[in-house]
Assembly symmetry: none
Homo-oligomer: 242 residues x 2
DNA sequence: CTGTAGACAACCATAAGACAAGTGAGACAG
DNA sequence: CTGTCTCACTTGTCTTATGGTTGTCTACAG
């Protein structure tokens, strides 16, 4: 059976991190040391570490090293099934593509939640080079002020914002693909789009982030498991708008 | 009867995939390895693999290999109220409208779940006289045999079926409105449709009902509350299809 | 139509190395 | 003691190369 090296290394490191092998600071051995212990090249080691970073298990600081992140919220990230983790499991490469980064007057839908001025980041998510999602994130100006374009390219907002988060509300709807999004995602204008809007709040319930995800309808679906108590005739969670 | 080599190979591979012989990643041996094990040429091996790909059992990635497409992780999410309860709360009148009631050969999407013959009930849901959903319910023939059209008009399937239910899996997607549905719902053909498909199983996990709900995209959205533990960068529950 | 055999392109994982940029600790002058 | 400089070490990013894998094509035989 063929093996994919960096996945085995990532698995092993996951275990060692879980076993708290790296002491109080959680500082991992340097990349070159890991190269020696696993007898792998630095590219391979980095790919393993980068997948762990995507899962929120470790963080990296240039010139310092790789640190196991102790934040329980971030540790929780690993176990959940996001699209990007699905991509990794199936061996596809996921990437992000920043197509906009600016401080603007808040759009009408966002203003009541985040205030008048916001940081808007528009991003494209790619699987194996092909775009599969357009994501726009709005962030309160005071929280986004110190973020750079390079930050949001490499890290998720949840990693960057040093604010304890409380919860989120997600709404999923269907729209026709706009001209802008159609071009970004390489699908026909007017085709079906699955749109997820999420409002994330801090521990006090104050909204911190608003994100809008647009997926091509033919590529994505949303799955909900309903327990025995929630069985009802109609689709639960659905609501009429407007 | 002459043996057709690549079909035998495909059958064998089907079995090995079903037996999960290829581990977590689901990575199959390379084509050349399969050539050796089956003592066949690469063209033959590829034809076997390609038929499996047509069936959706495996996927291929150039330069990487053949991967058994695994069932995506299904994610449990809290549910909310139903549309009809919302309608009642907001003082609107909800009504149902049976537009089809017949025993038929099961459609391809339903047959693997419910068997060859099913009862199909097509229904329209109205709010204050205006249609807002087209619902099709398929029911195992043996369970639906004693139901009449009058029964399904007045009662929900969950009331009618005297079977203890176990749980359900709901998938939500976006499509363009078909001509049929557009006419039933009085919206333009090709406009955005929110589609919810739900498979309901009995206490033993055997599927009992399959329902497909089609909503006009501009009228409906799906709401999910996420607790602090489930906060992630990407929309949880969403998955890539195809 | 099925199968064999081979060749080539495109792509992926990995190796090995070079250089830029950041960090931290110790040496050293004041 | 304080500030500054240097230097070893680290990560970030890039290039080049190799072997293995799939994608596609041609030629040929039953």
């Amino acid at each position: 059976m063929r093996q994919i090296r960096y996945r085995n290394i990532a698995d092993d490191l996951r275990g060692r991190i879980a076993a708290e092998e790296f002491g109080a600071g959680g500082l991992l051995p340097s990349e070159s040391t890991l190269c020696a212990t696993y007898e792998a090249s630095r590219v391979t080691i980095r790919r393993a570490l980068e997948t762990l970073r995507d899962e929120g298990l470790v963080e990296s600081r240039q010139g310092f090293g790789w640190v196991a992140s102790s934040d329980p919220v971030r540790q929780g990230l690993a176990s959940l099934g996001t699209i990007e983790s699905q991509l990794r499991e199936s061996g596809r490469r996921s990437a992000r593509d920043i197509v906009g980064f600016r401080f603007i007057e808040a759009p009408a839908t966002v203003r009541p939640l985040l205030g008048d001025r916001v940081l808007e980041v528009r991003r494209r998510n790619l699987a194996d080079g092909a775009p599969f999602a357009r994501v726009t994130v709005w962030c309160r100006e005071d929280l986004g002020a110190e973020l750079s374009k390079a930050d949001v390219t490499r890290h998720s907002f949840y990693e960057l914002l040093k604010v304890p988060l409380g919860g989120a509300t997600q709404t999923i709807g269907a729209r026709q693909m706009s001209a802008d999004d159609a071009e970004l995602l390489d699908v026909p204008v007017g085709s079906a789009a699955l749109v997820a809007q999420r409002v994330t709040s801090d521990a006090q319930g104050v909204p911190v982030l608003v994100a809008e995800h647009v997926f091509p309808g033919h590529l994505t679906e949303f799955v909900v498991e309903l327990g025995v108590g929630t069985i009802v005739e109609d689709a639960p969670g659905l609501r009429l708008v407007e």
